[in-house]
């Protein structure tokens, strides 16, 4: 792609480094910004810069936070004895949006993935094991995605905390609410039968 302006070219090149944004999309976005008031671009670049420079990670759960300890960990009304282990910040948001969970989180920052070169040492596992060994934790809930990497990570952590005597659970796998049974995959359907729950539970919770 040939550009009549070096400034445009540079902006497009930087934009197209973002995932899922190719050169054409980047050009469309950049030309959109050109048509808008200068303030919009100023606000955008300032917001990105501030975010990247000033963002902190919670010292306790590694969630993103504006303060040293995130709002969830600092909230004494929450149950600090239950820790939900998630892969990344978006999972915290997703679970928070359900409004069903009152414990705290531990963000691993990824999954063990030999293919992508991510080993246990790059994840926030040590701090989790320390937390468990401190004796203040009653239950750990694995909430990683149900892939080979997720299962590997679950198992790696499980091996390190299995002898601590705490409850180790994992989120339920089953048929999504609203889904047709006949279209569900075999593994999920199989697991949903194996891990069936008392019927009363399904309406008592709501």
């Amino acid at each position: 792609m040939e550009f009549s302006s070096k400034l445009i070219e540079k902006a497009v090149n930087e934009m197209s480094q973002l995932p899922g944004i190719g050169k054409r999309t980047a050009l469309r976005l950049v030309l959109h910004l050109l048509k808008q008031p200068k303030e919009q671009t100023r606000f955008l670049s300032q917001a990105l810069l501030n975010m990247r420079e000033d963002i902190k990670f919670c010292e306790s759960c590694h969630n993103i936070s504006d303060t040293r300890v995130c709002e969830i960990c600092a909230n004494l009304a929450r149950n600090h004895q239950t820790i939900c282990i998630v892969e990344d910040v978006r999972d915290v948001m997703a679970i928070e949006n359900t409004g069903q969970y009152k414990g705290i989180y531990h963000v691993l920052g990824g999954k063990i993935s030999p293919i992508e070169g991510v080993g246990p040492s790059q994840l926030n596992i040590t701090t989790l094991v320390e937390k468990v060994k401190s004796g203040k934790v009653v239950e750990i809930i694995f909430a990683l995605s149900s892939t080979m990497e997720g299962d590997t990570t679950n198992f790696y952590i499980y091996k390190q905390i299995a002898d601590s005597g705490i409850i180790i659970s994992t989120i339920a796998r089953g048929i999504s609410v609203g889904d047709e049974l006949e279209y569900a995959d075999e593994v999920t359907l199989g697991r949903s039968i194996l891990n069936r729950v008392p019927f009363e539970k399904t309406f008592k919770n709501n």
Copy 2:
């Protein structure tokens, strides 16, 4: 969507103002930036800022440019007697990429569109008419998209320059190279028969 950080929220809000980028995509992009070195965000926001603040529009053709007059208009090797009228900067790039056009351009900056509230006065039409009236122009080529707005804009400009005695042409509409005839729409196919060209022309140009 609830965010655990005001900084993230602000960045996501600014990002999601871009066309085609919703809150979820914006969050994905912002979290991607968080995982990359700080330099990437610095370069991105600086490039956007520089682009928006320092970009100029060519005084002659209104193309984007780093200088007062764009490279195409400043190139004396090009034919300054032929002006191709396009809607926006991307069209200039698209035609330049073909390598088939040696004249200069005139970027209107949009199309006349009553629905979107764009009237002739918001487009770069006056400067075009002045250029034509200066007597240095021999041919005008309409290269706007073939929509109702495009046709309206073509006709509006045509009415103002029709009595100047210059050649007024429009890019050929027809079956795309490589397309199957049976899937072409009727209007295009009809026009491609009406505006048929001498067969020798199709191989002499290449």
